[in-house]
Amino acid sequence: SAVISQKPSRDICQRGTSLTIQCQVDSQVTMMFWYRQQPGQSLTLIATANQGSEATYESGFVIDKFPISRPNLTFSTLTVSNMSPEDSSIYLCSVRGTGELFFGEGSRLTVL
């Protein structure tokens, strides 16, 4: 199993600002995944972060809006840029174990 810590756990942000979410894993992992869960919705994959290369974004998500860093094998950040109320969501960092996905506790963002 993996222990994943995310910061912040929650935040209230103003429209037009940007916020960076940090994700720390207690073991080295090749891939880290960033998901978004909008209120009452499922988990949608934003991007896959591989250490040493640019993140791979899913359809509908772009690097300018959600820049990701992956400086080493245990850490990643996701920035939500130029936020609007539609970005109010839970953002989840995750890694795969032997098969299943382990999740952080999530970062609940509310954009006013």
Binding site: T30, F33, S42, L45, R96
Partner: protein, 115 residues
């Protein structure tokens, strides 16, 4: 492309009834993994099961059971003798076999167990 369909958006049953949550998937991969996760009202995601596409045996874990049928691309989840604590959103998910491949989630089924 991979896709997971959970046609049941919301289900309500009375406590002690059995309930089956449906999951249909699409993939071009010959080997893949299927998953079920539970998300109770507290919000955390709880891993329930992983099934490799080579293993079509049904699985039972206490009151939970899973029916995997490759012929119909389905991986259904049954709760027997449901309890109020089973109330949650349940997600079916799919990934390719590779260890670091992404996992795609269905839209989820919200299950209400009524006392």
């Amino acid at each position: 492309a991979q896709k997971v369909t959970q046609a049941q958006t919301e289900i309500s049953v009375v406590e002690k009834e059995d309930v089956t949550l449906d999951c249909v998937y699409e993939t071009r991969d010959t080997t893949y993994y299927l998953f079920w996760y539970k998300q109770p009202p507290s919000g955390e995601l709880v891993f329930l099961i992983r099934r490799n596409s080579f293993d079509e045996q049904n699985e039972i874990s206490g009151r939970y059971s899973w029916n995997f049928q490759k012929s119909t691309s389905s991986f259904n989840f049954t709760i027997t003798a449901s309890q109020v604590v089973d109330s949650a959103v349940y997600f079916c998910a799919l990934s390719a076999e590779y260890r670091d491949d992404k996992i795609i989630f269905g839209k989820g089924t919200r299950l209400h167990i009524l006392p």
